[in-house]
């Protein structure tokens, strides 16, 4: 029994030691050092000296650029890899000084003194200070104490070590994670997102320590169906991101939906993750004829004309949906004296913008127009990467008036069909 108690006692001591060590390991510690400068590895916060020049209790202060006082407050960190510095501005203001030397002090959050400041910073987390009239609480350590002569201790005060006065100056390495980003687009439960490569965007996450998050991780995951087109994690520094690969569209047989979150982090690696948003991408095929007629004007018997010279103009089709399509063509008869599927009425595909469709499987030479659908464009893209649009293709026409054709106006309706192929 005694042995058990002994083991429990030892374990408790060990645990307490580990906890204290872990808590203390990254603490700022400041000492009153009897020298005009500080030892290597520490940074001089201020110089202090009492009126008799032989102590640091009830002392005046001088800023760190002046090195005439016999005592210095020297600060470092219990973790050797963390460097403490006392540069101003840019770091937290611990104290304000009434003068460059022989100064009274006030707490850093006051603004009565403008003749000097004492600052603390680190190469790890942000330093912050509190000014309790009592004792310091974790994670803050006591740096110094101060006392005024007129009942107010937070300004017009003299400086002492931590046990001298009740008004304490407590500093520590603290950091707060940025707030959760707000996800803007695609919005939560938006089931009609059109873009296959949406521009995900979210609010800049403010950092309670000042400024905003320095980087974001966007996590897009896929559920509900069989996914083969999503990027799992992406690190960005901006508040928007366009995924490089098209996401999958929704269908009843493969009901893919996407969940996405953004984690905002500060430069110290403290992070906060947004609420999750869910969206689906609609499955839409849509084709528009940007030019849907061509004016061949008057033609003689036997005359040939085509749209390759742009007089008359070619027809132009554009894929304005969000899926890859094949485009077909057929037409009603143009001439009375000859049948369709003859050289008198022909079509071909031509490039309007490079990369719009796959020319190796498209009809790139004139072919006879038929009453039934024939292949025109193969893999006409929906991606509109250029200002002019590269989701377009030209439909060229080539007409020769048959020798036996009676005169009069001629009519033909071209049916441009399309279907999804991905």
């Amino acid at each position: 029994m005694r042995k058990s108690f002994r083991i429990i006692f030892l374990c408790s001591i060990l645990t307490l030691f580990i906890v204290l060590f872990v808590v203390a390991v990254n603490d700022i510690q400041c000492i009153f050092y009897q020298n005009t400068t500080c030892p290597a590895g520490t940074a001089r916060l201020i110089g202090v000296e009492n009126d008799t020049h032989n102590g640091y209790v009830n002392s005046h202060a001088q800023n760190t650029t002046i090195v005439t006082y016999n005592y210095s407050i020297c600060c470092n960190n219990t973790n050797g890899s963390i460097t403490i510095n006392t540069t101003c501005p840019g770091n937290v203001t611990v104290l304000r000084l009434s003068n460059a030397t022989n100064a009274h002090v006030e707490i850093g959050t006051n603004s009565n003194y403008n003749n000097g400041t004492a600052c603390l910073g680190s190469n790890w987390k942000k330093v912050s200070c509190t000014y309790p009239a009592g004792s310091c609480s974790a994670p803050y350590n006591c740096t110094l104490s101060m006392a005024g002569t007129e009942g107010i201790n937070t300004t017009n005060a003299h400086v002492g070590n931590c046990s001298a006065y009740s008004q304490k100056v407590c500093c520590g390495l603290t950091n707060s994670a940025p707030v959760k980003p707000i996800l803007n687009y695609p919005a939560h439960n938006n089931n009609t997102v059109f873009e296959r490569r949406p521009n995900f965007n979210w609010s800049a996450a403010s950092d309670p320590d000042g400024g905003f998050a320095t980087n974001y991780t966007i996590n897009i995951s896929c559920g509900g169906g069989s996914c083969s087109c999503y990027q799992p994690f992406l690190n960005v520094t901006t508040t928007n991101y366009t995924v490089p690969n098209p996401l999958c569209v929704y269908s009843a047989s493969n009901p893919i939906s996407y969940n996405w979150t953004v984690t905002a982090c500060d430069s110290y690696g403290d992070c906060n993750t947004s609420n999750m948003s869910n969206f689906t991408i609609s499955n839409q095929g849509n084709l528009v004829l940007l030019i849907n007629y061509s004016n061949f004007t008057n033609m003689r018997i036997g005359q040939n004309n085509n749209t390759l010279t742009r007089s008359p103009t070619q027809l132009v089709a554009a894929n304005i949906g969000n899926v890859l399509i094949n485009v077909t063509i057929n037409a009603s008869a143009l001439f009375n004296s000859v049948a369709m599927n003859t050289v008198y009425y022909q079509f071909e595909a031509s490039v309007n913008k490079t990369g719009s469709f796959n020319s190796s499987c498209s009809q790139m030479t004139f072919a006879n127009m038929s009453l039934s659908a024939q292949n025109l464009f193969c893999n006409l893209t929906y991606e509109n990467n250029t200002a002019l649009g590269n989701n377009t293709g030209n439909i060229e026409l080539n007409i020769t008036v048959p020798l036996s054709e009676p005169p009069g106006p001629k009519t033909s309706a071209i049916e441009v069909g399309f279907y999804k192929i991905e």
Binding site: A252, I320, S404
Partner: protein, 397 residues
């Protein structure tokens, strides 16, 4: 009319007849406003796949997308091997200009049995409109919605495909193996090893997917790890897949990045005004198959085509084009060299000077060589003459 085609018909008479039969082919549509044209039409969803359920009916909803706010009537029709099972709630849909999405329903009545496999067909939407009378050639849109009916095979069967995402070279390639469970049973374990080769058959890397389970009539996707890092080009993948006790091997090609031809250097530094200039540049292919390249040279409005040339895998070649500088004054210009190949287009710009000097005739350039040749011939003649004189002297002695 037949006599018009007669070979006996002489040319004079024929021309006269031509004038007589002067055709007024109004192949136009400048009366656009007179026609009810459907120059834009969309559908959503753009396709559908369903699994076969014997002796049941399934109702699918689709939408016509009226993105151009037209008013017309759309006729719905079925096509393909499944058309006999397809029925519409209304075979004609009235589309009005104020409606963007117009829903319609398709009812598929499955028969008692169908052959295992994938049966295809679809919906064709044909807008009806007035052509506005004679003398017009107009185009309209007629979308199709492909529909697949998947009929399970007895026991276990999966349709396997490889999906590769588009990435730039140097980026780990996400490769997915997709299992479409077309069998009548669940698959408990499915996975694959993907072997990647270049097009010459040289093995590059093996990647493997974790195993997944796939319920019947569902799709399952598993990602191959690690994502291979490959150079730009075309590759061959051999997918050695397994699902439960079955093994299957299939091959497919995939690409990393797009074909790329770089212009490494413009060798011609100077052009001359008002003449046809030869322009030489070094082109380099960063693609691993042969590319046919054409293009054009351009300074301001002066543009001339570059004759077609081919670049092999990783090949660097001097290519030549010609540019007519008529109308361009001497000075500094930007030369655009545009190359097109494999559905790609790339333009690079180079500073170039059009010199004030006229082009030097080539004969001037070869004058020193001609002088050297004459001197050389004279020396040879002198040497020969000396040798002959010496020989004669020797014979005399």
């Amino acid at each position: 009319m037949k006599h018009l085609l007669s070979k006996k018909f002489n040319k004079k008479e024929r021309l006269s007849k031509e004038r007589l039969f002067f055709l007024v082919l109004f192949l136009l549509a400048n009366l656009l406003s007179a026609f009810a044209l459907v120059n834009s039409l969309g559908v959503s969803p753009a396709d559908e796949s369903i699994y076969f359920k014997p002796n049941t009916s399934i109702e699918l909803e689709f939408n016509i997308i009226n993105s151009e706010s037209n008013t017309f009537e759309a006729n719905l029709g079925a096509y393909g091997e499944i058309k006999d099972f397809m029925f519409f709630e209304n075979p004609a849909v009235r589309v009005s200009s104020d409606a963007y999405r117009i829903p319609f329903k398709l009812i598929i009545k499955f028969p008692f049995e169908m052959e295992p496999g994938i049966h295809t067909g679809g919906i064709k939407i044909t807008p009806s409109f007035e052509t506005g009378g004679e003398g017009n050639i107009i185009a309209y849109i007629s979308p199709q919605i492909p529909i697949k009916i998947k009929v399970p095979y007895p026991s276990k069967y999966a349709d396997i495909t490889l999906v590769s995402l588009k990435v730039d070279e140097g980026t780990p390639l996400p490769l997915y193996v997709k299992f479409d469970n077309l069998g009548s049973e669940d698959i408990f374990k499915a996975g694959a090893i993907v072997e990647i080769y270049d097009l010459e058959g040289k093995f590059i890397i093996n990647v493997a997917t974790p195993e997944i389970s796939i319920s019947k009539s569902t799709l399952g996707t598993t990602r191959a790890e690690p994502g291979p890092i490959l150079k730009r080009g075309l590759y061959r993948a051999v997918i050695k897949a397994h699902y439960d006790e079955f093994n299957e091997t299939l091959e497919t090609n995939f690409t990393i990045g797009d074909p790329l031809v770089r212009i490494k250097e413009l060798l011609t530094k100077e052009l001359f005004p008002n003449t046809i200039n030869r322009v030489v540049f070094k082109a380099y292919s960063e693609w691993n198959t042969e590319l046919s390249v054409v293009g054009f040279l351009k300074i301001k409005d002066n543009q001339n085509e570059i004759p077609s040339f081919k670049l092999g895998k990783g090949e660097e070649k001097e290519a030549t084009g010609f540019l007519d500088t008529t109308g361009l004054l001497p000075g500094d210009y930007i030369l655009n060299i545009t190359l097109t190949y494999a559905d790609q287009l790339k333009t690079e710009i180079f500073p170039i000077t059009i010199s004030e000097k006229a082009a030097k005739p080539e004969t001037l350039l070869t004058l020193p060589i001609i002088i050297m040749l004459i001197i050389l011939i004279l020396i040879i003649l002198v040497v020969v003459a000396v040798l002959i004189i010496k020989k004669k002297k020797k014979e005399q002695t």
